[in-house]
């Protein structure tokens, strides 16, 4: 970037980020905010594990424990894993397809601020009389009858951040369809871009179900509707269906991008083209498709009857096939390669056995009759942590180590990276492997205490010790990030011998990404140029003016408006002053929308002369 930006004061930088519509900066914002929420969720996890270190412990009360588990799950899924992935996608995906920008820069920024205010909303509840306590799944009627306002914060917080995610999804879809560089056909897109594309479709079709579910919950709790009120003919199971119609695709929304990250990493550090690229793309699409057909496997014990249980069991097992295809393709990518093991690759390598175990238990819980025993026990807790930590968190950390130089311009410290991996990896298996057995030995999940003399002491103790290892690993990573920001080694454009387009431009990239759009000649375009060409991308266009969008403060204000209005919704029944918040907030939110609609915003152009100067 030009020298002018480096001399900015703090206020100027803050204003820059509050108004930015640059996908790379929004990516960073997602990473910062997601990282913060990840630490918060981790803290909640540690409190849970400390409470369960011994039988009948009274470290925290039952009520507070329920708030902890609810907030841990909600935070990790919606406020940590999702935004961290969205951050990586924002920062990297447009570079991978050779785009200068995303399709809707304004919407992109709005999506981020909606997510952030939603996350803040959820966590404000800690200070206003108690966090949500009905579990991250918020099953009615527990959620509709939960006293206090905790669950109300859950509803409004997720509604805000869910809307933000939906905007992000639509933005990515249009970006990938309309803004690929010349020659970047669909079947030449890197796997990370492919998975971004597929999960954006999933977001598009899954999140509206959550929106509806949250509205129903909101109407029941705040406006006296009777969707889940059995006395007035309501039905509590509807929530479970709607929640899992959203919730199961959500699992794939999280894990597929991680698959994409691993695919890119395996290929780069094996110095080999991804084995079975076409099959990998096909498997991704198939997993996404099947992901919509299996939601009721979360409900085997609800009493849907043997026909429904059998159908959903078989549909679920079917997902194991494309997932297996992926695992073997990764293995065959390694096979015959020239494998470099560094901290990014370590996470990818650690993922294979871990995720295979998670997939195995996935098939096991898909067998409905076996699930009658596993369901809602620590076996399931172990299973989904193997999938979500072993898949998603490993993926995010792998992606961070891999793309850190591209995003921040500096390379993470290798030694600390390895220390993080080994402590976190060992700690993870220590924490969660034993939980499979705890579940089968009769420990249901979401238990505030387990009783003495039930044979559950040792397992829980080991599990808690493992959690401390994981916490240590995360702290080392944090130190690494800070150390790198201050003293880290400056990154060249292509530190790893990369194969895809993001490595063809400077680290960090200039704000217009590509001075001239690159001409793509095949899969792994940069690799092709290294082997067969000049070693750098051939421009697809002459140097010319570059059109850029203007920054805008409106997304922040709009999100703030809806944030304020949410308090109005929560308290309107009990406090008259809440109406001020409700109408005031809505006025700010909708008013901003109107301003955006009425005010012309044509963006600006970087002239050819300016671009020529930048080169020197």
């Amino acid at each position: 970037m030009s020298i002018a930006t480096q001399n900015k004061g703090f206020a100027a930088v803050l204003w820059d980020y509050l108004t930015t519509v640059d996908h790379k900066k929004i990516g960073k914002l997602y990473l910062y905010a997601g990282g913060l929420f990840f630490l918060l969720g981790g803290l909640e996890a540690m409190i849970i594990r400390i409470q369960l270190i011994e039988p009948e412990n009274d470290f925290i009360t039952a009520g507070l424990y329920n708030e902890m588990i609810t907030m841990h799950g909600t935070t990790m899924i919606f406020l940590a894993a999702m935004p961290l992935l969205l951050g990586l996608m924002n920062a990297i995906m447009p570079l991978q397809i050779g785009a200068r920008d995303v399709a809707f820069p304004f919407l992109n920024s709005l999506g981020f601020w909606m997510f952030l205010f939603g996350g803040i909303m959820l966590n404000v509840s800690w200070f206003t009389g108690g966090a949500p306590d009905a579990g991250w799944t918020a099953y009615s009627p527990l959620s509709t009858t939960s006293p206090g306002h905790g669950v109300d914060y859950y509803i409004m917080g997720l509604q805000l951040s869910g809307a933000g995610t939906l905007m992000g999804g639509i933005n990515f879809l249009v970006t990938i369809v309309n803004m690929r560089a010349p020659g970047m056909t669909y079947m030449r897109m890197p796997l990370f871009t492919w998975t971004t594309f597929v999960i954006s479709v999933l977001i598009l079709f899954a999140f509206p179900a959550l929106t509806v579910g949250l509205f129903l919950l909101m109407f029941d709790r705040m406006f006296g509707a009777a969707f889940f009120d059995v006395a007035l003919g309501g039905n509590s199971i509807i929530w479970q269906h709607i929640f899992w119609i959203f919730g199961h695709p959500e699992v794939y929304i999280l894990v597929l991008p991680a698959f994409g990250i691993f695919s890119d990493i395996f290929s780069t550090f094996s110095k080999k083209r991804l084995f079975g690229y076409t099959a990998m793309v096909f498997a991704t699409v198939l997993i996404a498709f099947l992901g919509f057909m299996v939601w009721a496997h979360h409900m085997f014990t609800v009493g849907m009857g043997p026909v429904a249980n059998s159908i959903f069991a078989i549909a679920t097992m079917a997902i194991a096939v494309p997932t297996g295809i992926k695992i073997f393709n990764w293995l065959l990518t390694l096979w015959g390669g020239q494998i470099t093991i560094n901290s990014a690759m370590l996470w990818a390598l650690g993922f294979i056995p871990t995720f295979t175990l998670g997939g195995m238990t996935g098939v096991m819980v898909a067998a409905s009759v076996a699930d009658y025993q596993y369901h809602d026990t620590y076996f399931v807790v172990a299973h989904f942590h193997y999938v979500i930590v072993g898949g998603v968190v490993f993926g995010i950390l792998a992606g961070c180590h891999y793309w850190w130089p591209k995003i921040f311009g500096r390379i993470l410290h290798e030694g600390m990276g390895k220390l993080t991996f080994w402590t976190f990896f060992i700690g993870f298996h220590l924490t969660f492997f034993i939980q499979h057995f705890l579940g089968l030995m009769g420990m249901p999940r979401r238990y505030w205490v387990f009783l003495e003399d039930q044979g559950l002491d040792t397992g829980n103790f080991i599990s808690t010790i493992g959690a401390f290892f994981m916490a240590f690993g995360v702290i080392v990573f944090l130190i690494n990030a800070i150390y790198t920001a201050i003293k880290g080694e400056k990154a060249p454009a292509d530190p790893w011998g990369g194969r895809t387009l993001e490595w063809a431009i400077a680290s960090p990239p200039p704000y217009y990404n590509f001075k001239q759009l690159p001409l793509v000649r095949g899969l792994d375009p940069l690799w092709i140029e290294k082997v067969e060409g000049k070693g750098k991308m051939t421009p697809a266009e002459p140097l010319g003016d570059v059109h850029m969008p203007n920054g805008s403060f409106i997304p922040f204000v709009m999100s703030l408006g809806f944030f304020i209005a949410s308090f109005g919704f929560i308290y309107h029944a009990t406090h008259d002053v809440a109406y001020l918040f409700l109408f005031g907030g809505m006025a700010i939110g909708l008013g901003s929308m109107l301003v955006r609609s009425l005010k012309d915003d044509h963006g600006y152009h970087i002239t050819k002369e300016e671009l020529e100067r930048e080169a020197d």
Binding site: I170, V174, V177, N178, P208, A226, G233, N235, I242, H602
Partner: protein
């Protein structure tokens, strides 16, 4: 290369709404958005179907619904969809005045629809005591139909905003996509209403 020039060319292209990258993006983005909206309404329909017999002793759909009013509403909305097609036809021929005229008619039809819907709700509440809170059926009915009504209201506000904003400056490549996306959105609302008419009213009266 000035914007005025690029957005106000001497001769408008045949599809002004898709002549710029921004226009193409808006067009595709709205299609995706409508895909999401489909799931939203599908979830609401599912909920309604699950709860439509849960009247908790209150009036049932057979007792409540009168098909005459709903038929008029349906005709109003279907016609408004047609008039918005005329508006888009004139936009493609770069006839701004006629486009505005037909959009105005579209808006008035939408307004008439909305007024009848409000009357319908008022009628149910005051004649039958059938409210949002009286039963699970009530909650599901008002939520589904109300969500649709809310979409109509939003569409009317949107239409008013772009019509007023662009009244003086006419059509260009910057605002053509805006008119076009509105029209797509309006068709979608219409389609949803056809489903509501069938699933809620016809099936509620007969089935």
């Amino acid at each position: 290369m000035s914007h005025d020039h690029s957005l106000n060319p001497e001769t408008m292209p045949h599809n002004p709404e898709k002549a710029t990258l921004e226009g193409k993006n808006k067009f595709l983005g709205l299609w995706f958005f409508l895909g999401g909206e489909t799931v939203l309404f599908a979830s609401l329909f599912g909920t309604y179907l699950a709860l439509k017999n849960s009247t908790a002793g209150g009036p049932s759909s057979e007792e409540l619904f009168g098909l005459e009013l709903v038929f008029i509403m349906t005709m109003l909305l279907l016609t408004s969809s047609l008039t918005s097609v005329y508006a888009m036809y004139h936009m493609k021929n770069n006839d701004f005045k006629k486009m505005q005229l037909w959009l105005g008619i579209t808006g008035l039809l939408g307004l008439a629809f909305l007024s009848l819907e409000i009357y319908e709700f008022y009628h149910y509440i005051h004649e039958y005591g059938f409210t949002f809170r009286s039963s699970a059926f009530g909650s599901a009915f008002y939520t589904l139909v109300g969500f649709h009504g809310g979409h109509v209201l939003f569409g009317l506000c949107w239409l008013t905003a772009i019509m007023v904003r662009n009244a003086k400056r006419g059509l260009n490549l910057y605002n053509a996509p805006k008119f076009n996306t509105f029209s797509l959105y309006w068709h979608f609302i219409d389609v949803v209403w056809v489903f509501i008419f069938t699933v809620v009213y016809l099936m509620g009266k007969v089935g």
